[in-house]
């Protein structure tokens, strides 16, 4: 793995909110084209970290580069190289499928011609041609989620950040969604995904687990299970989380 190209580098990253330390000395690297799982309980500091990596928030100290760009000084370049999808897989409900695609492609500065081509490709791939003129609110949840992901990578970003992308979705749709993620990764997009479904952690190439603002473990799911002598990622997580409570 070590010969692989790194695309995200984080060194001694700290984020404080007055006296509360949300991210305490984070250190990790993400390789190009991998699916990187970013796990942690609610309030462990995942969202804070993802916001810094997306250029939405400034770190208190430490370094981080995304696709070679610095989070302090090159926010605009970062924003142009990433895609972002939030846990609400937000699309505009009162806009049609095509209008949503066109809008989000537009704010990433794609030309009208490119947008047109991309829209056709997307609709064909998602088999949504018949629903192109339907409003989002008339689409089933699973379709919306797929579309939201496709839109997050419509401008062919180097990295896509997915913040709990499968919340509130049934297992089958979740499985289909992960197929989409694999496809994107196969095309060379780096996927940075947070989740609290432990079964999903097994799908990732490497997983980091955050506890109380620190990265408590980082490795492939297989190695983590070996290290913690656990049968599943769920067990790994529980063991780590239990430590957290003892430490408090």
């Amino acid at each position: 793995m070590s010969e692989r190209e790194t695309i995200i580098t984080v060194n001694h990253l700290v984020k404080k909110f007055s006296s509360f330390i949300a991210n305490n000395d984070l250190n990790f690297e993400v390789y190009k084209g991998e699916i990187f799982g970013f796990l942690g309980a609610n309030g462990a500091g995942k969202t804070t970290a993802i916001k810094i990596l997306c250029g939405l928030s400034k770190p208190t100290s430490g370094e981080a580069t995304i696709a070679g760009f610095d989070v302090y000084t090159q926010k605009d370049d970062i924003k142009n190289s990433i895609g972002y999808m939030s846990q609400k897989f937000s699309l505009y409900e009162d806009l049609t499928v095509t209008e949503n695609i066109r809008f989000f492609a537009g704010i990433y500065g794609m030309t009208r011609k490119d947008i047109k081509i991309k829209t056709q490709q997307l609709l064909a791939k998602l088999e949504l041609e018949d629903s192109a003129k339907k409003l989002i609110k008339d689409l089933p949840l699973g379709w919306r989620q797929k579309l939201a992901f496709s839109i997050a990578i419509v401008h062919s970003p180097k990295i896509v950040f997915l913040d709990e992308p499968t919340g509130g979705v049934d297992p089958i749709t979740r499985r289909q969604f992960w197929n989409q993620i694999y496809e994107a990764a196969a095309e060379g997009v780096t996927v940075f995904v947070t989740t609290h479904y432990m079964d999903e952690a097994e799908y990732c190439d490497r997983v980091s687990i955050m506890v109380d603002g620190r990265i408590a473990a980082l490795d492939t799911p297989q190695k983590l299970k070996e290290t913690f002598e656990a049968d599943s990622m769920n067990e790994v997580f529980i063991k780590l989380a239990r430590n957290a409570t003892y430490n408090e």
């Binding site: 997306c54 400034k58 924003k79 990433i82 972002y84 999808m85 939030s86 937000s90 009162d94 704010i107």
Partner: protein, 368 residues
């Protein structure tokens, strides 16, 4: 610039696909114009009046004292000739001027007849009407009492004239208020709700994570509402002209410019509200309670500011609508120029700067 255009187009989709927004935008102004056409009554207390006494005799002094001690009036100006009347009204220092004809007491003694001329500032039609009625009642009361002691009854004729609004149309008064109300409603309420909606939906995060700059996002969001608010200003002016026959006395360009300033102020208020809350409902409540109600009640729109308790008067003075209403009245009804409204304009400009600075600061804190 290209992404920006797409953004504004998207915003128009939102507006034109939401029936509630459409109703607020296009039906509400017309309904309100028609509703407020039947204006609410109000009472007077300590109304400022001026006296122009050409006679200076015992009787005129008695009547003047009676007016002053009635509790309804305060005599703030004693005039010496007719030319000063107009000035008094223009500066807004009095609401009514009472004119006694020369040789008042002498005529009353010899001919048993004399006349009083009442001139009122009817740009505020209701108040003007009330003031004239109260003055007449006090004069008549005097006459009745005096007549008890004499054999031949005397008469004092009262003539009244409504300045700026000769026909005493209520509409003259409520048009400025309705304009303020509608602009606050559309610019502040709708924008704050539409920005907060993006936060609720989570699309705001996506926008912030995109190459769009925060400033572009905000301007893109408020631009359509600015345009539509301006359309509404024109609609209101056309309506008041065509249905209620109200002409614009002063400069139309100045009126539109001042309206634009007030729109910008309302938009910055809307942005400020949206930075303070994350729920559409809260944004709506704040806009309604904090902006709309004051625009109706605490702005001099319906109830004269002078009659309010001190604390409420202070509230009126921090209420942007109060200033806008004064500006519109002066330009539209009195036909005055920029020099008469520069102070109010300055206050509005100051408020714009204040709210935009506050919003930017709040926004930055959120990002850090």
């Amino acid at each position: 610039m290209k992404h920006f255009r797409g953004f504004v187009i998207k915003e128009f989709y939102h507006i034109f696909r939401d029936k509630r927004t459409l109703a607020i935008l296009f039906v509400m102004p017309i309904v309100q114009m028609l509703l407020f056409g039947y204006v609410v009554t109000n009472e007077i207390k300590d109304a400022k009046i001026g006296i122009l006494d050409h006679s200076q005799d015992v009787v005129t002094r008695k009547i003047t004292d009676k007016l002053a001690s009635s509790g309804y009036f305060i005599i703030t100006k004693v005039l010496t000739n007719e030319t000063e009347i107009e000035d008094c009204f223009r500066t807004g220092s009095v609401k009514e001027v009472v004119v006694f004809e020369p040789d008042f007491a002498v005529k009353l003694e010899r001919e048993k007849k004399a006349s009083i001329h009442l001139i009122a500032d009817a740009s505020d039609a209701n108040t003007a009407n009330l003031i004239v009625n109260y003055t007449s009642a006090i004069v008549n009361d005097y006459v009745t009492k005096e007549n008890k002691t004499v054999t031949t009854p005397m008469q004092i004729g009262i003539e009244s004239r409504m300045l700026y609004n000769e026909e005493l149309k209520g509409v003259y008064m409520f048009v400025p208020g309705t304009m303020a109300l509608i602009l606050v409603l559309i610019s502040a309420l709708l924008t704050s709700v539409s920005i907060v909606r993006e936060k609720e939906l989570g699309t705001m995060e996506i926008l912030l994570a995109s190459p769009l700059r925060p400033l572009q996002i905000i301007i893109g969001k408020v631009m359509p509402y600015a345009v539509l608010s301006f359309v509404n200003v024109i609609t209101i002016l056309l309506l008041s002209n065509s249905i209620f026959g109200l002409p614009i006395q002063g400069s139309v360009a100045l009126l539109l410019l001042e309206s634009m300033l007030f729109i910008i102020l309302s938009l910055s208020l809307g942005i400020f509200i949206s930075t303070s809350t994350n729920s559409q409902q809260t944004a709506m409540m704040i806009s309604m309670m904090g902006l709309m109600l004051p625009a109706i009640i605490l702005s001099g729109f319906i109830y004269p500011v002078e009659n309010m308790p001190m604390i409420l008067q202070w509230v009126c003075h921090i209420n942007p609508s109060t200033y806008f209403i004064i500006i519109v009245k002066n330009i539209m009804l009195k036909g005055l120029g920029f020099m008469s409204v520069w102070k109010e304009t300055l206050v509005l400009c100051g408020m714009v700067v204040f709210f935009i600075t506050m919003s930017v600061r709040k926004f930055k804190i959120r990002l850090e």
